[in-house]
Subunit: 218 residues, 2 copies
């Protein structure tokens, strides 16, 4: 796959803009455990994950961490572009959780393009909006967690009923069961996946760490 | 002041876009204590505060609150536009903390303009980026800053907002702002009183040693 296939705004760029991106964008390989971005190091710009897994987190002065989000194959992130986006003022760390291959569109080029291309500006806005939604969600979890327990209980019950840990059920259906919105279920399931409790594939939720889930539910 | 003076992108809009905004934007007056936005009510779109004070907060299922941000004169916010911005998925409440006058650019018009005007798209991105930075900061506060520092910072901020060191605010209300229980606030305030930083009387918290409080917050 080429970089253009990862970027939904690609066909709306001019030929010259596309060329600029192709000329300066580099693909990079990092080993598991390597920190690819922090507040003091280089500014990565827009990161496009080809293969592997990245984790974005914030770090307290005394070394405590909290995961803000994760990037899997095909994910795109602007979190590492705060250096050129004056309104993004926070110090975030990004590290590779697996051996990872990613492209980065350099920060300065990205900044220029966002200011001249409506399609790119809208795309950047959408990325940041998603970050904001995720963070709002995480904050609610931290402050008041309750839905995670309900969902864990529901999945464990389903597994018991069906006699299998491989649940064939849509997020829509779970939402209907629990009286909430599909998006809420999807976001929580992704969180469960990040935590290694489930594996999500098309139409299936596989419970891979029942004990951890039961603990959550306790 | 006219609405155009509050919107930095105004001169970059076409005449027709300006006219659309002027035709449908209404000015509204709300009394202190009124909730102007929640997830079930109308969608406000872009809110431009002319005069007064608004508070945005999230609410848990069991009624606990935490303040996400405040709007003062001339502030502009997109937090109440989540209804038309599919990537902004969260339930936020907005209430008037003082008698307030504000404009709102209706959600549907705003959505259309953002998708056709580069200046507006960049402006919306900047607003959301600011929200993300604020929320990241708040998350760090909640996760890692001890409660005494957070409370000191809150009281100093209130004093700055109100222009007085004699704060008329209940412990209940402070607890709601900070996402904690009233008892926790009361206990810490008594400690502050013992340390000579505040004087507590019925319904009032008087800051009597601002310097010491600022030191605590440093």
């Amino acid at each position: 796959m080429e970089i253009s296939q990862y970027l939904p705004f690609w066909t709306k760029l001019t030929g010259s803009q596309q060329e600029q991106i192709l000329n300066v964008t580099e693909i990079r390989n990092v080993k598991k455990g390597i920190r690819i971005h922090d507040s003091s190091e280089e500014c990565l710009g827009l990161v496009i994950l080809k293969q592997g897994q990245l984790r974005a987190y914030i770090l307290s002065e005394d070394g405590r961490e909290i995961t803000i989000g994760r990037l899997f194959d095909y994910d795109v992130s602007l979190l590492s572009a705060s250096c050129v986006m004056p309104d993004l003022q926070f110090n975030i760390m990004i590290e590779a959780e697996k051996d990872t291959q990613f492209w980065s569109i350099p920060a300065c080029l990205f900044k220029n393009l966002v200011e001249e291309s409506l399609a790119m500006s809208n795309y950047a806005r959408s990325l940041i909006s998603n970050n904001l939604s995720d963070l709002m969600w995480l904050m609610e979890q931290i402050m008041w967690k309750s839905f995670d327990k309900r969902l864990a209980a529901f999945l464990l019950e389903e597994a018991a009923i069906e006699g299998t840990t491989e649940l064939k059920i849509t997020h829509e259906k779970i939402a209907a069961h629990m009286g909430t919105a599909r998006e809420v279920v999807t976001r929580m399931l992704r969180y469960f996946q990040n935590e290694g409790m489930v594996r999500l594939t098309r139409g299936t939720i596989e419970i891979i760490d029942e004990a951890k889930m039961e603990q959550l539910n306790a």
